[in-house]
């Protein structure tokens, strides 16, 4: 009786908390809305959205045009059901690099200091997560049913599957978030390999074994849910997720910052030693610190690109090569955005910059994660052994190198007007990407590509 009374009071307190939280968020969003839209802008925006909807979906017959795509996706979903069973949890894992999956903020933590069992609070938040997921999947499923030829039984099957996996992944995400980065990477790699196997050997047994293991893991881990939990890390990540409202942050120009986390390197004696008196040494350290602080984000991007490559390598050659070109483009953009951001972050913002040394040191750091992309290419090479592989691989390597150097030099050019790149360089480098995409269909393009690689260094001379 005492416990049920406590449970009821806990539910009331939690609902009170959620209600006030929603009210505060609504108020913030309303302020942003008023800042962003006036009456005239709002009316015009509604007209534009309405016109686009009519143009695309009614007059443009967009739905008929993408019907084939939906039919293909439906066939894939039926054939590869058990692959999706093992692939979908990977997205949960990638998310768990930065959040524990259950939104246990400081407010929830304070609730546990009142006479509310921590497990009850956790479960209440978890149930909220599941309800939210159910609503999203139902909306998505209903939209698919109404606007696509996808069959109703398949939609229901997948809505149930997504929800089931969402529930089953709650505890793994919670525990995964606590792991050291190497542990996280090891488990992610295991999942990627599992999915490769699941794709190569379309197997009911791999999927069923995976689900069984997941259920067993949940049963065994549930009693030890709060063992080894760093509550500071959990509440910091959840507070950030809850209140870092991107639109509000952008409109108000106020950044919500995460609490500082202390590096494991700081305890090592060699880390404290004075640097050799050269800029490269200190800039390497600055990059180390910066990348460490942003490692989750970097790994999410790299992980997503890797997953894309591992999937496409088994679908179609041109698609895989397109994926490689896209990976090079996205990865180099990531490096460039880190370069720009580094200059305006912390103490570096107040100091003079030697941009060339910053660039050189960053280039060295950028190579390490990029090596992982060799693995899907190795699989591609295994299935497409030919003389053309060598020039293709050379073009991939050099395209990456040229593109990243070119993009970084463009950033430097914005600060140092005396150094200008030749416009031809950009044209040639992007030409290499195109050559790469079509290199399997037209292998002779690779010869042209190798020629371009030879001439680019001449064009890279500065004015």
């Amino acid at each position: 009786m005492k416990r049920s009374l406590g449970g009821v009071s806990m539910i009331k307190t939690h609902l009170f908390l959620m209600k006030n939280r929603a009210r505060k968020k609504w108020k913030l969003n309303k302020q942003v809305f008023h800042l962003t839209f006036d009456f005239t802008t709002l009316i015009y925006s509604l007209f534009i959205i309405g016109y686009m909807f009519i143009a695309i979906f009614l007059d443009g017959n967009m739905l008929k045009q993408i019907d084939e795509l939906f039919i293909g996706v439906e066939a894939f979903s039926k054939d590869r059901f058990w692959f999706i069973v093992t692939a979908f949890p990977v997205f949960h894992l990638l998310r768990a690099y930065q959040q524990p999956g259950v939104l246990f903020t400081t407010a929830e933590y304070l609730l546990t200091s009142l006479p509310n069992p921590r497990a009850y609070v956790w479960l209440a938040v978890a149930i909220k997560r599941w309800i939210r997921a159910l609503i999203i999947y139902l909306i998505a499923g209903t939209s698919l049913y109404l606007f696509s030829p996808t069959s109703f039984p398949l939609i229901v099957t997948y809505v149930c599957l997504m929800l089931f996996l969402n529930v089953l992944m709650t505890i793994p995400e919670w525990k995964f978030f606590q792991l050291h980065i190497w542990g996280k990477m090891g488990i992610t790699l295991f999942f990627i390999i599992l999915n490769i196997l699941s794709f190569i050997i379309p197997s009911f047994w791999i999927g069923i074994s995976f689900l069984t293991l997941l259920i067993i893991y949940n049963i065994r881990t549930a009693p030890k849910l709060f063992k080894g939990i760093d509550w500071n890390k959990v509440t910091a990540a959840c507070d950030f997720k809850l209140w870092n409202m991107v639109i509000v942050s952008h409109a108000s120009k106020v950044k919500f910052k995460k609490e500082r986390q202390y590096s494991v390197w700081q305890r090592l004696s060699f880390w404290k030693k004075p640097f050799p008196y050269e800029k490269k040494a200190v800039y390497h350290r600055l990059w180390h610190l910066y990348i460490e602080k942003n490692i989750s984000f970097v790994l999410q991007i790299v992980g997503a690109l890797l997953l894309m490559l591992f999937v496409f390598v088994f679908i179609k050659d041109t698609l895989f090569l397109f994926a490689i070109a896209l990976t090079i483009h996205i990865y180099t953009n990531l490096i460039v955005s880190m370069f720009r951001d580094r200059l305006v972050t912390d103490i570096v913002e107040a100091l003079p910059w030697d941009l060339n040394v910053f660039k050189q040191t960053l280039l060295k750091w950028s190579v390490i994660p990029s090596l992982i992309f060799i693995f899907p290419y190795a699989i591609f090479a295994y299935y497409h052994l030919s003389f053309w592989l060598l020039p293709q691989f050379i073009i991939i390597m050099f395209t990456f190198r040229f593109l990243i150097k070119m993009k970084l030099e463009k950033v430097i050019q914005a600060f140092d007007d005396t150094q200008k790149l030749r416009e031809w360089v950009e044209f040639l480098v992007y030409g290499l990407l195109l050559i790469l995409i079509f290199s399997n269909m037209y292998p002779l393009l690779l010869i042209l590509g190798c020629f371009i690689i030879g001439v680019i260094p001449f064009f890279q001379g500065r004015r």
Binding site: S252, K253, R260, Y262, S263, W265, Q266, K272, P274, F275, Y277, E278, K279, V282, R285, L286, L289, D346, I347, E349, A350, L351, P352, W353, D354, L355, F415, D416, D417
Partner: protein
Amino acid sequence: MVSLQVDQVTTILDDKELIKEVSFTLREGEVLALVGHNGAGKSTLMKTIMRMLEKRKGTITIQQYDQDEQFLSFKKHLSYLPEEPILLTELTVMQHFQLYAMSYDMDEVLFNQRLDRFVKGFELTTKLQAYPEELSKGMRQKVQTICALLPDVPVLLIDEPFMGLDIYAVDYLLKLVKEKVEQGTSILLTTHQLNQLQTLADRFLLLEHGQVKDEGAIEQFETITRGRFHD
């Protein structure tokens, strides 16, 4: 010779004019005190000169280097001592000093000589291997002060330099600032400690709600403040 020229600078944030059409010059070896009420725009002006905040209009030049056209060279001629230390948690005190020295291309021998002197003067000899989190607030301020004073630059921006420093450190800092001035460094400083102003500054610039309200010789500033208090 003019070291720093600020001309019609306006800084806007969230549609609010934080600084409006501020103009002034700072000559070689001159100390200009930036004074005003809380929220007048003193720190904002300093951050705008540093380009930590983007100006909407106006020009800022250090010697012949324009902030917009030659930003990299501009930065090398400027050192900044912020009100709150901006030290990295992950670097030791010594590593911070090295970072500053190398960023300003300081000669290693000169760096070591100067560091030895400053560290002794600010009593941080035993703290070189410590991380900022292991230091008291005052010690962190000392570290930041040394960092800003290490390089030889034409312009030094100092925002509330005496906050958190003990009386010995204040004395030592005053001595170092005077040395810098004698060597030709121009200093733009903000402080609420009016008793230090007379000792240090040659001129004052009074900001009110982001605009220049008054400027002149430091002796005139004492008259203005006396007048305000007795109104």
